[in-house]
């Protein structure tokens, strides 16, 4: 991990841009495959994708589902203090509804 050490919270709300400069929105969720712990537990959890998109007032209030893109972690090519750069065009990322965990 670069840009801000080995922590995860700083990625929240960071703009996501493709290599060609197209904006994909902001990071609003980080997804880890596997059910929430109830036993057996995990020694660590992997991160498989970032959910990003444009979030307006209705989405922030929870009245509307965000139109999110699921960006696999493997597509991230650079982490800057003010942006996450990802490989590939916007069309190559799936909408959240179509998203299935990479590990499955």
């Amino acid at each position: 991990m670069k840009a801000s050490g080995n922590r995860l919270a700083w990625l929240e709300d960071l703009p996501v841009v493709a290599e060609d400069g197209t904006r994909l929105g902001h990071v609003f969720e980080i997804r880890s495959p596997g059910r929430a712990e109830t036993e057996p537990t995990y020694a660590e959890r992997s991160v498989d994708c970032l959910l990003c998109g444009r979030r307006g007032l209705l989405e922030r209030l929870g009245w509307k589902k965000p139109d999110a893109l699921a960006v696999p972690w493997s597509s991230v090519v650079a982490l800057h203090a003010h942006a996450v750069v990802v490989r590939g065009p916007v069309d190559s990322f799936r909408k959240l509804d179509a998203y299935r965990s990479e590990s499955r």
Binding site: K2, I30, T41, V47
Partner: protein, 131 residues
């Protein structure tokens, strides 16, 4: 019979973990998750390793960097920069609260609360204090 929603096969780390309360093995509140420690990710040579969350971070040293820059610079002088690392293997349950396997004292959590509790116990009028 009406079927409930199946448990999702994923965890949303910001929504389900970050800023959630921690309960120790005795169900005592012992802080909130202020940040998550990760390993892997992008390396200096440009390779991208799988990213793994390895620990929960609790304490002022974990939440002050999340504040706007001015506060992030000033507040550590006031509230300190103590940060307790709780390995993810200690997490036994993820829900409304996050339950841990061990007691808070064993993990170094809620130490200020315990010190304050001992001090309050000495006050006249408290259960163990002088009358």
């Amino acid at each position: 019979m009406k079927k409930g929603n199946p448990t999702p096969e994923y965890v949303d780390l910001y929504r389900q973990v970050l800023d959630h309360a921690l309960l120790d093995a005795d169900d005592w509140m012992c802080g909130t998750v202020d940040d998550l420690e990760v390993e892997g990710g992008l390396r200096r040579d440009g390779t991208n390793e799988p990213l793994r969350v390895t620990a929960l971070l609790v304490g002022a040293g974990a939440w002050t960097p999340r504040l706007p820059a001015l506060f992030a610079r000033l507040l550590p002088h006031v509230v300190g920069s103590q940060c307790v690392r709780v390995p993810w293997s200690e997490v036994s349950e993820l829900g409304e609260q996050i339950k841990l396997r061990s007691r808070a004292a064993a993990l170094g959590l809620a130490s200020a609360d315990r010190r304050l509790g001992l001090w309050i116990a000495k006050l006249p009028g408290s259960e163990r204090g002088e009358q």
